[in-house]
């Protein structure tokens, strides 16, 4: 992900909009390291999402890059365009029963299956899908 791209589309951009102007002012070097950090958070998030003792999201969702996926939930594709607001994804992963009391998706935040930090990383990963 480059600064230029995230500036034009996606929620990450909005979240860090203020930071981006600062980054632009400081030119490429700092901007790149921000991007690199976002990427490492996303790959950390992928690890958490796939880990059977952590998110184990593949139990229910098909996700690019994962194997032996279940079909209980919808395939996680086009997440970024479907949920441009990052907070919405945080809310879904934290406690989907708030949106849908009948859902079978575990409340990862409410039941402390994942920490806030881990959920944030998972959401960074979701935004790459």
């Amino acid at each position: 992900m480059t600064i230029a791209r995230s500036h034009t589309d996606g929620p990450m951009a909005r979240r860090t909009a203020a930071g981006i102007f600062a980054a632009l002012a400081l030119l490429g070097s700092l901007g790149l390291s921000t991007a690199a950090r976002a990427q490492s958070a996303a790959s950390e998030g992928e690890k958490i999402a796939f880990d059977r003792s952590k998110g184990n999201c593949l139990t229910c969702h098909e996700i690019k890059g994962g194997t032996l996926a279940g079909s209980i939930g919808p395939a996680l594709t086009d997440i970024k365009s479907k949920y441009p607001d990052r907070n919405e994804l945080i809310a879904i992963v934290t406690d989907e029963t708030k949106r849908n009391p009948q859902t079978v998706m575990p409340p990862f935040g409410r039941n402390h299956i994942l920490t806030d930090k881990e959920i944030s990383a998972v959401v960074d990963f979701l935004q790459t899908l």
Binding site: L58, T59, C60, L68, A69, G70, S71, I72, G73, P74, T97, R99, N100, P101, Q102, T103, V104, P106, P107, N111, H112, I113
Partner: protein, 289 residues
Amino acid sequence: MRLVPGSVLGSTFGIVVAALLMGAAHSAPASDTPNPAADAKAFQKFFTDKFPKVKFEDFVNGPYSMDEGLYQQWKEKEEFPPYEFALDMGKELFAKPFKNGKTFADCFPNKGIGIRQNYPTFDEKQGKVVTLELAVNQCLESNGEKPYSYTKDEMAAVTAYMAFTSRGKPFDIKIPNDPRALAAYENGKRYFYTRRGQLNFSCASCHVQSPGEHIRAEVLAPALGILNAMPIYRSEWGGMGTTSRRFTSCNSQVRGVPLKPQDDEYRDLEYYLSYVSNGLPISGPGARP
């Protein structure tokens, strides 16, 4: 069909599940009059509507009823059934006299042959639900023998044999006119629909809301007919397992703490699940992936 975000109760699916859930929730504080016969009818209709192509008797085949490819594999497996060994052992144990000279046949109606479809039964003398597994151990103990472990080995073998002699007979679970029997049924129903464990699943999350779906590589069995094939051989277990074994492993799966085998709640749960499958044939012992 799955719940679609944004249309929580908008789908018929949502409505039916909600109705099943509400039923459970309402009956707990005894607001609605419990009506097991109506429950069973609604329960069966939910599954036959959801899977119009599955023949009624085929619901007893668990995951195999949900998936064509698996169904084929199962037909092939049945040619050399992996539970054969347990069946032979069960037949032998069943006939073998106890130290006092009696046998299992002396403990059961019709000498224990062709009666699996009547269990669990509500025993008015004991004031509780008696499952076949519990009855087997009560028989052993009342004859001065050591009870079996509930989860596998001898217990799986003896119940496999007893199920085999009842194959094709429809579940015929009775709820006698005794408030304690009705309370046990209601308790089992409540257990079935209550979410638990860190992952917040109820039994219904998997076996009512998601049958036929893959959970990783496994295909979820529908709750209708889910006990008719017990006990089962599972390749994953590398052997046989009883209803007790299946209940405790499903509880552990959701990072919940399983109850002790044959705990009151598990027996009530088995009573509820068997009752709502009344009319479906016994098919045990079963073989599973």
